[in-house]
């Protein structure tokens, strides 16, 4: 009954989405006031999807093997938390989560949004319902999560230990919330284009949603990067894997949108541009979902052979993106002119930011999809990895990081002050860093060296917007910007340090022998068998000393029986100045063990920077939805932003 309840809720929600779309059409064609009705419909639709998702959680929690999805992906012996998390660790479940977040976001938007005109709100809710409708159809026709099995099997097949990991259980939902949060920006843009109300009010209504989605995407990417770092045991934090790029592309687009939306909110300029970015940002979310969920990454041919799901998703993508672009082409030219600005102004700075981010996005997009195109067209197989992305996008990212330090100093409309003077101190810090790297590490490669230089410059430059005034009286949004930009400098420092100073050792040593890496001397004390809840393991005991501290690390090789799998559990020790990363490999006939060690100076700054960037976003969001000085007119708050 539980599964059937879920399915029924899903059908009802789909019906309501259709009704919501109908109401929107009615409201736009006549002067009919449907505001209250459409809001209630959106809320009920959100509640229904929540019910459907709750039902899926329940069948997974109870290990109801008569549901095909549970049989395929769960097992009665699984730890409870992973039974529940297993609900969205598969194709159907994750698509249901996607739709649930989409509808719940729509419901919250219907409840909370007071900033746009009623007409635009109705149009946006209609657009949101159209999006949801397509994905309901996808679930109900091509990916029913509640399908039953008869007779019910005794136990499930899904006990993959590698998927039993907190990082993997909670990282995809974070990304999904971010992906789907951008749908509101998309719907608002479509709605405003339909009603011809693209203005500062719209930007202010859109901004909290974009900020919220962007924060979650930032957190999701940061957490995903750390997960890959500790779980894969390769010591790397970003592999330019298509799945990783699928989360990076919406982030790049959302970052650009986040900046251009401020121009629209503050100055009423960049109207068409911002609408375009809102459409692109959610399109990138859909591209990401398509890449991950269609199976096309595994093989273009597999995709062509078992096309139902992939083609369905591709059709949805084409319809939504195509329709939005056609609407944009029809209405974009008729948009009112934005407020003028001069060549040297905050607006120009943000336009350059947007252009650079768009170019980087284009490079990542083309690099990610190129292998798919080539294979589909010529059958030739190739892969595009770090050498391409680092060489082509890396220098642009560095240029962008330099400009990050300069843009916030410019004032709106026109800048007449000599702002370069303010940058003397940061420039001095940067040059000092450059000189130090030349003296300390003459053999360093070019990209890390420039990275450290730019990061040092940005550490100084990013806090300048708070220096020129009383920092305590600065608006929260300004604080948010400063913290996020400072976070970029921190993350860049971590990446450059890791790139330049990582030392690695790989050797076979016997118990009692030592190996040196960086400042550490690591002694292999012993290797002993041990066991966990559903695995047996070999655990190495390592003693690391650097003269002052003595640390104990215990990396493991784990063996799972069902299905037979082996995993490496790295042991990582974190210090203020870096991480000691240890992996135990295979035994050697001589009685020794393969041991792999890394000393990674300041690598933690990468994720600390990511967290700071997200925290800055959170501050800005708080400042936007909850303005401190209530009575101040909007233009005033905006001017300081």
């Amino acid at each position: 009954m539980i599964a059937e309840t879920g399915l029924a809720a899903l059908w009802l929600a789909a019906g309501l989405a259709a009704l919501q779309l109908l109401l929107m059409v009615l409201a736009l064609r006549s002067a009919l006031d449907v505001g209250r009705t459409i809001r209630s419909v959106a809320v009920v639709q959100g509640v229904l999807t929540l019910i459907a998702f709750a039902m899926l959680l329940i069948v997974f929690a109870r290990s109801d093997m008569s549901v095909a999805l549970v049989f395929e992906n769960s097992h009665t012996q699984k730890p409870f938390i992973y039974k529940v998390a297993g609900a969205w660790g598969n194709h159907e479940g994750s698509m249901l989560l996607w739709v649930t977040v989409l509808s719940v976001a729509g419901a919250f938007f219907a409840l909370l949004s007071r900033r746009t005109s009623e007409r635009t709100l109705v149009a946006a809710l209609g657009a949101q319902a159209t999006l949801a409708l397509g994905f309901y159809a996808f679930l109900l026709i091509a990916s029913n999560p509640f399908a039953r099995l008869w007779p019910a099997p005794m136990d499930g097949r899904g006990l993959n230990p590698l998927l039993q990991d907190p990082g993997l259980a909670f990282h995809p939902p974070t990304l999904y919330f971010g992906y789907v949060g951008l749908s509101i920006a998309f719907s608002l843009a479509v709605g405003a284009l339909l009603t011809n109300e693209v203005d500062a009010r719209l930007a202010r209504a859109m901004r909290p949603w974009v900020l919220g989605a962007w924060i979650l995407l930032t957190l999701g990417i940061t957490a995903g990067s750390y997960w890959a770092y500790y779980e894969l045991g390769w010591g790397g934090y970003w592999f330019w894997d298509p799945v990783e790029n699928a989360s990076l592309m919406p982030w790049l687009a959302a970052t650009a949108l986040l900046h251009s939306i401020n121009v629209l909110a503050a100055r009423g300029a960049l109207r068409a541009w911002t609408m375009m970015l809102a459409v692109i940002a959610f399109s990138m979310s859909m591209v990401g979902t398509f890449l991950v969920r269609s199976g096309i990454l595994t093989s273009v041919h597999a995709f062509a052979i078992d096309p139902e799901r992939g083609t369905f998703l591709l059709a949805l993508l084409a319809i939504y993106v195509g329709a939005a672009f056609i609407l944009f082409a029809a209405r974009g030219a008729a948009l009112k002119e934005g407020a003028p600005f001069e060549l040297v102004s905050r607006e120009t700075g943000l336009v350059i930011n947007n252009l650079l981010l768009s170019v980087i996005l284009g490079i990542v997009f083309l690099g990610t999809l190129y292998p798919l195109f080539v294979e589909a067209l010529s059958g030739e197989k190739l892969s595009v990895g770090a050498p391409y992305f680092n060489a082509v996008a890396g220098p642009l990212a560095l240029i962008l990081a330099i400009l990050v330090g300069m843009g916030p100093l410019l004032s709106w409309r026109r800048e007449r002050r000599p702002i370069l003077n303010q940058l003397r101190v940061p420039a001095l810090i940067g040059v000092t860093a450059l000189v130090i790297t030349i003296i300390v590490a003459p053999g360093m490669t070019i990209l890390p060296r420039l990275g450290l230089t730019v990061a040092a410059f940005l550490v100084g430059a990013s806090i300048l917007p708070l220096v020129a005034r009383n920092p305590l009286r600065a608006p929260l949004a300004t604080w948010g910007m400063v913290v996020a930009h400072f976070g970029i400098a921190i993350a860049l420092t971590g990446m450059a340090m890791n790139g330049a100073f990582t030392s690695e050792r790989l050797a076979v040593i016997k118990p009692g022998e030592t190996l040196n890496v960086g400042p550490w001397t690591v002694l292999l004390k012993d290797v002993t068998p041990t066991a966990g809840k559903n695995y047996t393991a070999l655990e190495a005991e390592l003693r690391a000393t650097n003269g002052a501290a003595v640390e104990s690390l215990k990396p493991q090789t784990r063996y799972f029986s069902d299905p037979p799998t082996e995993t490496n559990e790295a042991a990582i020790d974190t210090f203020w100045n870096g991480q000691l990363y240890t992996v135990i490999g295979k035994p050697d006939p001589s009685g020794g063990w393969q041991v792999r060690l890394w000393w990674k100076p300041f690598v933690t700054l990468i994720w600390a920077g990511g967290a700071l960037i997200a925290f800055g976003g959170a501050l800005a969001l708080l400042g936007r939805v909850w303005p401190r000085r209530k009575r101040e007119p909007d233009w005033r708050k905006e001017r300081y932003a």
Partner: protein, 146 residues
């Protein structure tokens, strides 16, 4: 700047950005994409010496030999038609076994494939994409009767 001109400048800037992205990507992809070869491709001389590439196939049973330093292995990758010897220094991934599929990243030197990385993913159902292709192509050959 007049509003009309401003819009023109912005549109022009967007178009230039798009062009720059495409040109940069094309320039980068020209020599930084690594092609995938099977041992049969290498035997046929399709692969250039020293160029970054991927090699995929099955690890031949009984071919894995450990070198004296304990961390370097030699093995043979085969696709049923030809075989390529591979040299790899590092800890082999969890799912690397004789008789199962593997993809190695590296370059060809004097007929030996020097691997920098051996690929395996965090899911036992995961097949390195290129091997998945081989399997599905065989399937496709049957269903489509090419």
């Amino acid at each position: 700047m007049k509003p009309k001109n401003q819009r023109l400048v912005l549109v022009a800037a967007a178009v230039v950005a798009l062009l720059v992205a495409v040109l940069l990507a094309m320039w980068g992809l020209k020599d930084r994409a690594s092609y995938f070869y099977t041992p049969a491709d290498i035997a046929a001389g399709k692969a250039q010496q020293g160029q970054a590439m991927r090699l995929g196939g099955m690890v031949e049973r009984g071919s894995v030999q450990r070198q004296p330093d304990g961390v370097t292995i030699r093995f043979v990758v085969t696709d049923g038609q030809a075989a390529t010897p591979v040299l790899y220094r590092g800890i082999v991934p969890d799912l690397f076994r004789e008789g199962s599929g593997a993809v190695a990243e590296g370059r060809l030197e004097n007929g030996i494939f020097i691997a920098d990385t051996i690929l395996a993913k965090h899911d036992e159902r995961y097949m390195p994409p290129e091997l998945g292709n081989l399997a599905s192509e065989r399937k496709a050959g049957k269903t489509l009767a090419k």
